[in-house]
Symmetry: C2
Subunit: 268 residues, 2 copies
């Protein structure tokens, strides 16, 4: 399996694993974003993933290409966060390589990334100074000579995907380690996801609903693990309220990519 | 969307559409063949699909490449019949081109195809003279100078996928026409599949269980369409008995490929 196929397989395995509380999975859609949108994006992103795997070019631009290539259906942005993680991982080959690659980004990556961001409907924090929809933001980025790494550092407090760039892909590593520990096959993905959900507040949920809802979700995930709450009920409740832990889904994809590269078997 | 992406999307849309009586779908696996095997094959077949889309090389060999590229997981052969249809369609660009391409096959295509066939666990008819597991079969093919088209003609009576080569992709065309008529979105795939199931005996079922079971399946599909039988019950009954209309699934993929190329929208 080539690294690009591995990235595509990670995207496919993440979205089909189930039950995955709150997110689109094999058994649940949202009315505006359905499983086939995620699967189509895994296919359509291939040229950008190939570009990343060459280890050449600018990471910010390649993320922009991935967004453009997948922004062709009505399902909205499906994998923006996943691309932010997968593209450095493909570029560098593994976590060590990705850590080196993200540090080398510069202001041109930052500008390309902002242009890509503006194409998506991903929400920023109210507190963000650099609003992607503000035409002055690009000039400001250039004036301050901020690299894409700087942007991620700026966002790390409120965005766990950005935080992966800064902390050496810590949760990606933890998720991959969990997969190795749990063993082969798709059920391991659900168990890993649920463990992350029980231990890390999802920043996508925080941005959407505030910290209380994110912490409530963690608590309920712990109750599921401890056998005090039914997984199905928890899943249905999240779906009904639109509580989708999208950032942890992105990190799950990155963890799958890494674990598959280290010999974890999806095919039990 | 490139023709290769269209072929991959057709494979993804077919397997995720549901409920699709008897086959692996979004809500049902077989214990040895699961949805992730089908999705992985859609990713892994890409090099062979790219090769086909160039319109150069030998169709029999390209089918062999697709089988080898996807024969890497424990899910068994997932798309052999689909490749027999998709590869000429990609090679020729559309049905008209595919009809010209299949007629041009020669004995080297036949030999490559037999070697690919021997790698799969697809069953032949008891009455077939040219058993792929018989080492003399290849010598016999060469001696008789049989083309791959001749092989398909030989198999057409008992195999509806082979029959597509001979009758100008008739059911592929009918399926695509149905999609246009029904309209956009995934529910159209289920309706089209069910209509084919009600009107055509699936030759995969005939090979596995005999003609009576295939005709019984058609009758039940008609009852579902007429509202006299519940789709869910029919699906569960097929799954429980291992009655999987695999050849109609292959034709559904080919029909999706053609319809998508003619502007049918998967994304309602």
């Amino acid at each position: 399996m080539s690294p690009v196929e591995r990235a595509q397989l990670a995207m496919v395995l993440e979205v089909t694993s189930f039950p995955k509380p709150g997110n689109v999975d094999r058994c649940h859609d949202y009315s505006d974003t359905r499983i086939e949108h995620f699967l189509a994006s895994a296919i359509f992103a291939r040229p950008a993933l190939e570009e990343a795997a060459t280890g050449k070019g600018r990471i910010g631009e390649i993320i922009g290409h991935a967004v453009r290539q997948t922004n062709v259906h009505n399902g909205g942005n499906t994998h923006f966060g996943a691309f932010i993680l997968l593209i450095p991982l493909l570029y560098g080959g593994d976590i060590e390589g990705a850590k080196k690659a993200v540090i080398k980004t510069d202001v041109s990556d930052a500008v390309a990334f902002y242009k890509a961001f503006a194409m998506t409907k991903v929400r920023m924090n109210d507190t963000d100074e650099l609003d992607v929809n503000d035409p002055n933001a690009l000039a400001e980025l250039r004036e301050r000579n901020m690299s894409l790494y700087d942007i991620m550092e700026h966002s790390a407090a409120n965005d766990m995907v950005a935080r992966e760039w800064i902390n050496g892909f810590m949760l990606t590593r933890r998720g991959a380690d969990m997969l190795h520990q749990i063993g082969p096959g798709r059920d391991a993905i659900v168990e890993m996801f649920l463990t992350l959900l029980a231990t890390e507040p999802d920043t996508f949920i925080i941005k959407k609903f505030g910290r209380n809802v994110a912490e409530d979700t963690m608590r309920k995930a712990r109750e599921v693990i401890e056998g005090r709450r039914a997984l199905d009920t928890f899943d249905a409740e999240c779906i009904a309220n639109g509580v989708n832990p999208g950032s942890l889904a992105d990190i799950t994809i990155a963890a799958l990519f890494v674990a598959l590269g280290e010999g974890w078997s999806w095919d039990s």
